[in-house]
Symmetry: C2
């Protein structure tokens, strides 16, 4: 059985839990409290030298890190990974966009507001929100006339971008100026097998 | 013919130029001076709403952004993209690691030092270098006993990580404490068809 090392409030971890649930893949969840340094112990660093969740351990013990790589690995051969070469590349484009232009601003603002309210990083919130709104504007424009991010079908690009966008309000982002994003969030939440961010296998 | 929109000092663009050259794929290069806002014009934003280079335009005019996605698209069916599922996932893991844990620190420090010496961002350099050295330490540890990042063979994970690591000194990083990285840099530079960062088709 697969083992997922994760922290339930993590949007990066949620991407993987949501996909595993939608694909019907059973897994064992090991929770780590990142706020108490649980991913900085020698034991965890031996699994992932980068000290981050989510981390997927395969049946043979091999570790796979980085949510985008885990999504691609798991979705292969499913309808959530496109069959066509260009659509695969565009899916990857949105996964990289999420990690480089969206998560560092939308997710980090939420982390500060929700989990580190006394952090000196609060001084960066205005800057983070400017950059986060720039990413949201790119998404809003792309979603004009498109139901999902790639190929007109729900897939892992949607899962990757949904994870932190649907809780952007927790980081102080007001999504009311983004009607296309709000419509898309509702379509993603209506997919079969959808589960909330704090879901874990029962 | 493919068209690559790029800025020669960009390591992200260099990844794509190096791969295109090593694969023997002809392309047309369109240079944009990002320091003068050339990727923020309405014309460029129509190609890439995210306003970034590199941007690959396919023969039918389709735009593909994000260097990691472009590398995967181009390397498919070549020896620089592994044939095996887990090695593909590990390649993606390193591509995402580079974009989220390496480039924001190693590349940005170089950008400040080389292209924006009077920027108020200089105040962040010490913090950037701490995070950049953490990424370099992860690479150094992984390369112990390994000639390349994935599967014992040169591939796009090496190209992605080489681009900003080999010019890390321009951002004030001293690589002398990283002998495994220095050996790997030399192996990458010795690959057939290797070209320097400012290379462009003649």
């Amino acid at each position: 059985m697969l083992t997922l090392h994760d922290f339930l409030p993590s949007g990066n971890g949620y991407k993987v839990r949501l996909l595993l649930h939608q694909l019907g893949i059973p897994f064992r969840l090991v929770e780590h409290d990142i706020l108490r340094g649980a991913t900085r112990t020698p034991e965890f660093l031996a699994l992932n030298p980068n000290g981050k969740v989510p981390l997927l351990q395969l049946q043979d013990g091999t570790s796979l890190a980085e949510s985008g790589a885990i999504l691609c690995y798991l979705a292969l051969d499913s309808a959530l990974w496109p069959a066509e070469r260009l659509e695969r590349a565009l899916t990857l484009q949105w996964l990289f966009f999420e990690q480089s232009r969206h998560e560092p601003y939308v997710a980090v603002a939420r982390f500060i507001e929700r989990m580190a309210p006394d952090s000196p990083q609060r001084a960066e919130l205005a800057h983070l929100r400017d950059r986060g709104h720039a990413a949201l504007a790119v998404m809003e424009r792309h979603l004009a006339g498109r139901p999902f991010f790639v190929g007109g079908r729900y897939g892992i690009a949607d899962i990757a971008l949904y994870a932190y966008t649907h809780v952007a309000d927790e980081g102080g982002y007001d999504l009311s100026p983004y009607p296309n994003i709000r419509g898309w969030l509702a379509r993603v939440a209506a997919q079969p097998g959808h589960v909330p961010i704090d879901w874990k296998p029962g």
